[in-house]
Amino acid sequence: MAPRTLYDKIWDDHVAHEAEDGTCLLYIDRHLVHEVTSPQAFEGLRMTGRKVRAPEKTIAVPDHNVPTTTDRANAATMTEESRIQVEALDKNAKDFGINYYPVSDVRQGIVHIVGPEQGWTLPGMTVVCGDSHTATHGAFGALAHGIGTSEVEHVLATQTLIQKKSKNMKVEITGSLRPGVTAKDITMSVIGATGTAGGTGYVIEYCGQAIRELSMEGRMTVCNMAIEGGARAGLIAPDEKTFAYCLGRPHAPKGAKWEAALAYWKTLFTDEGAHFDKVITLKGEDIAPVVTWGTSPEDVLPITSVVPAPTDFTGGKVEAVQRALDYMGLTAGQKLTDIAIDTVFIGSCTNGRIEDLRAAAAILKGKKIKVKRAMVVPGSGLVRAQAEEEGLAQIFIDAGFEWRMAGCSMCLAMNPDQLAPGERCAATSNRNFEGRQGRGGRTHLVSPGMAAAAALTGHLTDVRELM
């Protein structure tokens, strides 16, 4: 057999049917579901009298709408529309018999944090969800990507997706990262280098020493933003760190099944000489702590830079940059570290895991914030509990942060956690689009350490100066 990439191998092991024109039915091992992109799909099943084909492989959790204040058990904390959506998921999970973590369950959280935490996500699997950040699960060497609601209904009914194979792209990060530089800076720097459409039509495999040196949580951060680079999915070959993470998780295999799984997982790597259609290489040593200045994730620069001018760009980007500077209220030539920050948001499926909270707390310990508002929203109830046990919660509270319950929160501002028009936020989330965190809100994407640094100084800050 010709040498194959990791993506080729997972693909080959999941083709249930291939038509003459190359259109495949790809079998789906894990289907994650949340309240916003699923109600119409369940309604479609009811209207056609169809069932969920594999309820045991389907996992639902409400995350987008849910309030993150500690009084959220009170239904009045949700708007009528949000409440209807969450209640619809409660009912659909029950009626169709799928695995469910309701808001009241300590395991509830952001679907992309709950999946790995509970051991649903395992190497070599196909994982889909009606959410673009499904790419996160690629950190396990799983083929994971977002789908629309029609495809959610298709997977519920058939446990397959109609797919054509993507091309292979390799993103190699050589060497080691310097102190203060994180997985978030890797993934944002890659998008800065390729653009938000640079990965369109590809599945990215991240590799190289700097990727191998990342923890599983860091790898999830890297893969999470593969979608921001336009890729269908991002993945990383599993290794001993991956296996150690999975071992003992509630839904990971045990005993003889674990041994069988492990033997298979060890075959999940790109063969020597396998073909990649596109290759990008960055040196780990060259990556700096970065920040976005505009309204696209590709608008990224090292924190030591200045705001660029529209004339620094060509083509359609000239108009887009002018529009972005107007929206962001920035002037070309302004130092990024001179940008004053009103609000800090630490959380999301990109940076809402325990290591993210540890990194932020390390910067904040014993200090007070200078921004008007700062909040930490743990990625799951279990992350929250662990952070309380480790004393991190108290560090955040003492510094002046609000200590919240788990959910998507201000990453997309579907719940009450929103920016006001003109309010400027340093956020550990994944999108700085116009209006993303609230109409007129201004978002600068950063790592957890950089968010903590901005909270302490009141402006964008190079975290390395506070370490």
């Binding site: 249930a16 209807i84 009606g130 673009s132 459409a197 336009g230 083509g315 108009e319």
Partner: protein, 201 residues
């Protein structure tokens, strides 16, 4: 799903690059549990002031483009969130075709599930169509899916590629799930095989 065969209609020019699905339909409108009724909020924050009044400069508020059925867009249209509310909102407004140099993957897929045809053309062709669209309501473009052509109001013809399976489904308004269920035997046999090979999955 409605069939898509041939369409002659007004094309609205939106040259901005990286138009994301948060722009197409902001999150506050994702709280619906229905697919319909989103057209009034299409491009909501670009289209309306905070007090709900229309922003007259926005293309779909201009008299010439209020009945547009085609959008000619800048590169990387539909990037970001997977929300299918974006094509639902476009469709509900009356848009049946979007033309650009590239589309984000999930949005592109979602269009086909809803009877919207996304067309990828090279930059020089999109430039010609963009200029043609700027002429206003009298400049109607024609999209012929069977022939795989777009024709400008003054008769210039551009050919486009489309996946054969997706073309077949659009031309006939076919339901994907129904088609897949015809292959249930293949899924059964895959599951039987996988239960042996991957018993932990």
């Amino acid at each position: 799903m409605d069939k898509f065969t041939k369409l002659t209609g007004i094309a609205a020019p939106m040259a901005l690059v990286n138009i994301d699905t948060d722009m197409i339909i902001p999150k506050q409108f994702l709280k619906t549990i229905k697919r319909s009724g989103l057209g009034v909020n299409l491009f909501d924050e670009m289209r309306y002031n905070l007090d709900g009044s229309e922003i007259p400069e926005f293309v779909l508020n201009q008299p010439a483009y209020r009945e547009a059925q085609i959008i000619v867009a800048g590169d990387n249209f539909g990037c970001g969130s997977s929300r299918e509310h974006a094509p639902w909102a476009l469709l509900d407004f009356g848009i049946r075709c979007v033309i650009s140099t590239s589309f984000a993957d999930i949005f592109f897929n979602n269009c086909f599930k809803n009877g919207i045809l996304p067309i990828v053309l090279p930059q020089d062709a999109v430039d010609v169509l963009m200029e043609d669209a700027k002429k206003g309501a009298n400049a109607r473009q024609t999209v012929d899916l069977e022939a795989q052509t777009v024709t400008t109001s003054d008769g210039r013809v551009f050919s486009f590629d489309v996946d054969s399976h997706r073309k077949h489904c659009l031309l006939n308004g076919l339901d994907d799930i129904g088609l897949t269920l015809e292959k249930a035997a293949s899924i059964d046999s895959y599951e039987a095989k996988a239960a042996q090979a991957f018993p932990w999955a």
